[in-house]
């Protein structure tokens, strides 16, 4: 059925490999930025200020209610105009690449989801943790870095894994803005060889394999983040004693 010679196949595989690296890079950069921004927003929006709350609700509602594809198109097609409006002459000269547009769009969209997760997790943390840190006069930066966030991460992990796998499945969308990623490479190879079935199935399996690997990592991370809880259980101390 296939008319592909081995040499051809190797060539296409190399193209797919390069595409996969770009997809992976896009995904990891976007996730890292979205995570950083999301945590920051999650902390900032703890403020009771009416203005902060209002801005947060509008932001969250807009970016959770609009397809990421539209946000990507907006940053890609409108990016130069937005930069020009913000930085004047200098901004107009910056060319918006599909990669940059994709990273920007995913960061903005998924920071909203991650911030929502963080808010939920911080809410679920016993208030005593904050009061204890304050009573010990621990400075805020250390309090967040060493006391609150490690515990919050444990609570937020399942949600983060969800966001992670969901975002992974949305990264191919950037190929529609012209990024030469895995899916674009697969489409080109499929068109050139007239073997769409093989290439698209292979691409699908790359994504499935990557999620499988990341689920393994997530399990490991969960065990690691749970180590405080486990020790407590093993020590046989009464529940809640160490909380």
């Amino acid at each position: 059925m296939t008319h592909l010679s081995l040499a051809d196949l190797a060539g296409y595989m190399r193209q797919l490999g390069e595409g996969a690296l770009i997809t992976l890079e896009l995904f990891l950069v976007s996730f890292a930025l979205a995570f950083a921004l999301g945590v920051l927003i999650g902390i900032v929006t703890l403020s009771r200020s009416r203005l902060v709350q209002a801005v947060w609700r509008v932001y969250a509602s807009v970016f959770m209610g609009v397809p990421s594809l539209l946000v990507i198109f907006l940053t890609f097609y409108g990016g130069s105009a937005m930069l020009a409006a913000m930085f004047g002459e200098f901004g107009a000269r910056i060319d918006v690449s599909p990669f940059g547009a994709g990273v920007t769009a995913f960061t903005i969209v998924y920071a909203a989801y991650i911030a929502e997760l963080m808010r939920g997790a911080i809410d679920n943390l016993p208030r005593g943790q904050f009061e204890g840190a304050r009573a010990l006069a621990i400075p805020p930066v250390v309090m967040w870095g060493k006391v609150i966030l490690p515990q919050v991460m444990r609570l937020a992990l399942p949600g983060l894994v969800n966001v992670w796998s969901f975002m992974l499945k949305e990264t191919p969308l950037v190929s529609l803005a012209g990024l030469q990623d895995l899916v674009a490479a697969a489409k080109i190879s499929a068109g050139a060889t007239k073997e769409p079935f093989i290439f698209f199935i292979a691409t699908a399996f790359v994504f499935i394999a990557f999620s499988a690997v990341s689920f393994k990592l997530a399990t490991w991370l969960e065990i690691r983040l749970d180590r405080g809880q486990r020790r407590e259980a093993a020590g046989g101390s009464p529940p809640g004693a160490a909380a």
Binding site: L69, L70, G78, K187
Partner: protein, 258 residues
Amino acid sequence: MNGLPIDLDLAWESLPALLDGLKVTAILTALPLLFGLALAFPICFARMSDRRWLAFLAEAFVTFFRGAPLLILLYLVYYGLGQIQALREGPFWILFGSPFGCAIVALSLNHAAYMVEVLRGSLLAVPHGIVEASEALGISRRNVFIWVKMPLAIRYGLKAYQNEVVSFIKGTAIVSVVTITDLTAVANTIFEQTYDPFTPILCAAAFYWAFVNVVRLCFNLWRRWLNRHNTEDAAADAEAPGRVNALRPASDLKQVMP
């Protein structure tokens, strides 16, 4: 460029086209939701079956159609299935020969795979004792399922179902790649004609936002109706933390309902 990035005249002019696009998006949401749900039930039973091979097949289905990005599924159905000679000559070609049919098939399969997991989670959440009690009363398995398990499972799974439906609606935005003129495609066409990067896309985004929030509102009303027997519990539920993924139950509802 003036201060406002939106050209109001253009927005007004393109309103009819955008509404047509919204109609296509709504159809492309409704049909796969229906087919996907219909497909999810048998696959979910297979997944929970005691027969190993059946459960394995169902799990493979779920893994594949959940794990593969929707864009790839769409390409696979649209470009890949045409390759199969038997299919091209068979009666199903009416379905697979049109972009619309392909989009419906791909979206339905994807939604079905997600719904299998939602269903399974909800059914597993039903307390075992209730089912045992029903069996002890001699109620047939089918009736236990329809009258005991499902009503509870719907209540447990409603939030997950809502999240899935909302993200599914947003997912339909990609069908424009197979030449369907949905809301996103209409916005893109207007962009290509006018080179206005903001107005059409922002208008389309507003329509999506409104669509998603109407759906969300319907779910909230549905949840309220399902929980009408214990309104106090429902209120407590809504206040509970851990509302992952964009649920603003209580406040939104209050604004709308007197």
